[in-house]
């Protein structure tokens, strides 16, 4: 009995993904644990492992195919002794996957620890059948280009997929390739593959907005950029934001950090200011649970653990790896976890459960010299702190005299549907207290 290998749901919310790369070919024998393919979701590229062993009888979805629905048969595995020649990829298969909008309760079972998801013998009866998904044909978007444009591009090592055509119906013509050679396009470096098949054809809405008298280029949005755009728009449209700003002195926190780093040096751990702010926020959220919430329309979810999403800038966008239980973790644990997550985020190697979820967020633009800013809430969370730069400012000291202190401005954005101004203020005060009296967060 051949086993159908289906597009895995690599995260609770994943509905489709890109089959970025096949690491096996038809006829290869695979063992459980072998990496079959790389799957690209809106946030990360993940390896897809084999669960069963056998021989790859057929590959049904070509690599590079985008928007492959979860549950689509992407390959067929023949178990030992079967004649692989007789096993063809099925034309269509009702996916065994999950319903379109998973309820929260299903999350745990829908996201298995191993992403490999061989077809169960039959779908669980309780799972409504999603619309039958045709086996996605190997759809390579045809690049429309003139023969001369193709010739020049080939000679010069230019990837036409990254170019925008200026000819009739968006055809890529010689002038477009020459413009790319002159440095007009990001995809011109010979030998370096283009990250994404950028432009296929300009959409009508783009054309309507475009002022073609101004030199320009048009690029397709990456799936990450689309996700960012959708979620931030949703947040600003649905969640009425209130913004509360406090100034926080850092001198004692910096002094403690110096002392702790000296002590931690032998263990090879170095605390950043941000690690300490994550901890402070975690503590503050436990103290003020009114801000550790999600607004669910007719109900309010209040979390009793503080999982802090930390905004990390990565090429092409932003990702928010999570420090789970920031309140319960020690500073050194936070430092180690944050460093690891940030490094893997930049390589696109995070697992979905490492960046999806969280109960509140922190975004620090202090290292970029930003004095103060407001952040957009990361739904369904209700709280995000925007951290400005710590800078020496004239300050009225505890003794009433004017002195110099290291001060940063922190602005909290709160979903006003769920959080009242007074509760937000209590959170900001608690956060300020932990930062200004940092022993409180380690005590």
């Amino acid at each position: 009995m051949p086993i159908e290998i289906k597009m895995p749901a690599l995260s609770p919310t994943m509905e489709q993904g890109k089959l970025a790369k096949w690491l096996v070919s038809e006829g290869d024998s695979v063992e459980s644990g072998d990496i079959l393919a790389e799957i690209e979701t809106d946030k990360a590229t993940m390896e897809f492992e084999a669960v069963d062993e056998g021989t790859i009888a057929s590959i049904a979805v070509a690599e590079g195919t985008d928007e492959v629905s979860v549950g689509t048969v992407i390959a067929v595995l023949s178990v030992d002794g079967e004649d692989t020649d007789t096993i063809a990829a099925p034309a269509s298969t009702p996916p065994s996957g999950k319903p379109d909008t998973p309820a929260m309760a299903e999350t745990a079972q829908a996201a298995p620890p191993s992403p490999a998801q061989p077809s169960p013998p039959s779908p669980p009866p309780s799972t409504p059948a999603a619309p039958a998904t045709l086996t996605t044909p190997a759809r390579h978007d045809r690049i429309i280009a003139s023969p001369l444009a193709r010739r020049i591009a080939q000679d010069k090592g230019i990837d036409l997929a990254g170019l925008k055509g200026s000819g009739p119906n968006g055809r890529i013509v010689k002038a477009d390739v020459e413009a790319a050679m002159a440095g007009g396009s990001a995809s011109t470096t010979p030998g370096i593959p283009v990250a994404k098949p950028a432009t296929v054809e300009m959409k009508d809405e783009t054309r309507a907005l475009l002022d073609d008298r101004i030199p320009h280029s048009v690029t397709s949005l990456s799936s990450m950029r689309k996700t960012i755009a959708r979620r931030l728009t949703q947040s600003m449209q649905e969640a009425p934001h209130i913004y509360l700003t406090v100034d926080v002195t850092l001198d004692r926190l910096l002094a403690m950090r110096k002392e702790m780093n000296a002590a931690l040096e032998s263990r090879g751990i170095k605390l950043s200011v941000n690690d300490m702010l994550i901890k402070a926020l975690g503590r503050a959220l436990i103290d003020v649970p009114e801000c550790n919430v999600a607004f669910a329309g007719s109900e309010l979810i209040t979390y009793s653990r503080a999982d802090i999403s930390v905004a990390v800038s990565i090429p092409g966008g932003l990702i928010t790896p999570i420090i789970a239980d920031a309140n319960g973790k020690s500073l050194s644990e936070i430092a180690v976890a944050a460093k690891d997550l940030a490094a893997r985020a930049k390589q696109g190697k995070l697992q979905p459960d490492e960046y999806q979820g969280g109960t509140a967020s922190i975004s620090n633009m202090g290292m970029m010299g930003i004095k103060q800013f407001t952040a957009v809430i990361n739904p369904p969370q209700a709280t995000i702190l925007a951290i400005g730069a710590g800078e020496k400012r004239p300050w009225v000291m505890d003794n009433g005299e004017l002195g110099v202190a290291t001060v940063m401005s922190v602005t909290g954005s709160f979903d006003h549907r769920a959080i009242d101004g007074a509760d937000g203020a209590r959170l900001m005060t608690a956060f300020k207290r932990y930062v200004e009296s940092p022993l409180g967060m380690v005590a």
Binding site: S146, P147, L148, R151, I152, P168, V173, D204, R207
Partner: protein, 474 residues
Amino acid sequence: MSNSYDLIVLGSGPGGYVAAIRAAQLGLKTAIVERERLGGICLNWGCIPTKALLRSGEVMHQMRHAGDYGLAADNITADLEAIVKRSRGVADQLNMGVTGLMKKNKITVHMGTGKLTVPDKLSVTDEGGKTTELSAKHIILATGARARELPMKTAQADGQRIWTYRHAMTPPDMPTKLLVIGSGAIGIEFASFYNDIGVDVTVVEMMDRVVPVEDADVSTFLEKALKKQGIEIRTSAQLEEIKSSAKGVAVKIKDKAGKVSDETYSHVIVAIGIVPNIEGIGLEQVGIEQDERSHIKADGFGRTNVPGIWAIGDCTAGPWLAHKASHEGVTAAEAIAKELGNPQVHPHALDRRNIPGCTYCHPQVASVGLTEAAAKDAGYEVKAGTFPFIGNGKAIALGEPEGFVKTVFDAKTGELLGAHMVGAEVTEMIQGFVVGKTLETTEAELMQTIFPHPTISESMHESVLSAYGRAIHI
């Protein structure tokens, strides 16, 4: 107000009337202003009636060579009046056709002389002196051009002995000894026609070769062919003096060596180029810029420096060809529709490298793109191929073995830079290369194309193969 339009086109030649039709197709309320006859020079006094005349010349030429085909024809004579009558009939038929097209497309025709008063207004004065004010969101100037005259006061075209193309098309009497000044397309066509119907023809050209805009190989070939037909060709020659009298036209021609010869001709055709029709149309009133040769300055879509005013065709920079004007007309109409909010149109700017040129002498000349010399001047590393008609079965069967096809490629990219043809039917074949150039084909697609046998067009294929050392029949 009924005299208010989305678009008014001034001039109804092949640029203007095509622009008006395209605009009407795109739903614009369109009017066209014409002072003389719908269809302009092309249809009434240019391209079309000359082709009718040349056809008569060609038939006569064939009849004279009837013996070559095993036929006999005696007492072949040309009835000039009947030839001209046929030519006028063709022009009249097409003029009616344009009238019908205007009606069909609901384009309002205002007969009269139009003049811009302010950038969005045009006054039209009809034959009776009555003036009508029109206004429009956009105005296209398509006023065309006319023959350039000789600088000498004694040699202004009067239609008696000194003619422009227009007189030459409706000659009052049969010339006996004709001088054609200028060997561009117009000069060579009339020289060919009058020679075919038995007139003694001489062509003088200032440059060192005939049809100087064409590839040098074409010029050399054509000069030889025309001389063989009995036309006297004097290149690198200058007109020193020209005097018209009742007896004829006395001309002093200085040759390359500086030697001056005196000749007398019964008639002279002046074909030394064109001047744009830019006078009295209000350019100064609205401040429209012109280039150093007084052509109206316009961008690739036809925009002048004044918003809302466009210019196309012969009143703008060259080449001064009807099909270039028509193409500009369509482009301008689409660009205007886009400016008026139509999101469906996507005009592309004129690409001058892909405008073909045709001369309908015998043998015909047709070309597109860069000559070999121009390509080298532009810095290309060139691969050129030539295939003579003598290697083509159809040409031999037709009794037309004189001619060749030359193709010029960029050696680095395989881009077809230019194609140059001389011989029978080449004006009907050049579009193959024009399509190829417009699609940016390389030698590979042209080599891969199957040309029908037996046709003269196989020479096009062979020429491409020859550029890469692969010609079969030579």
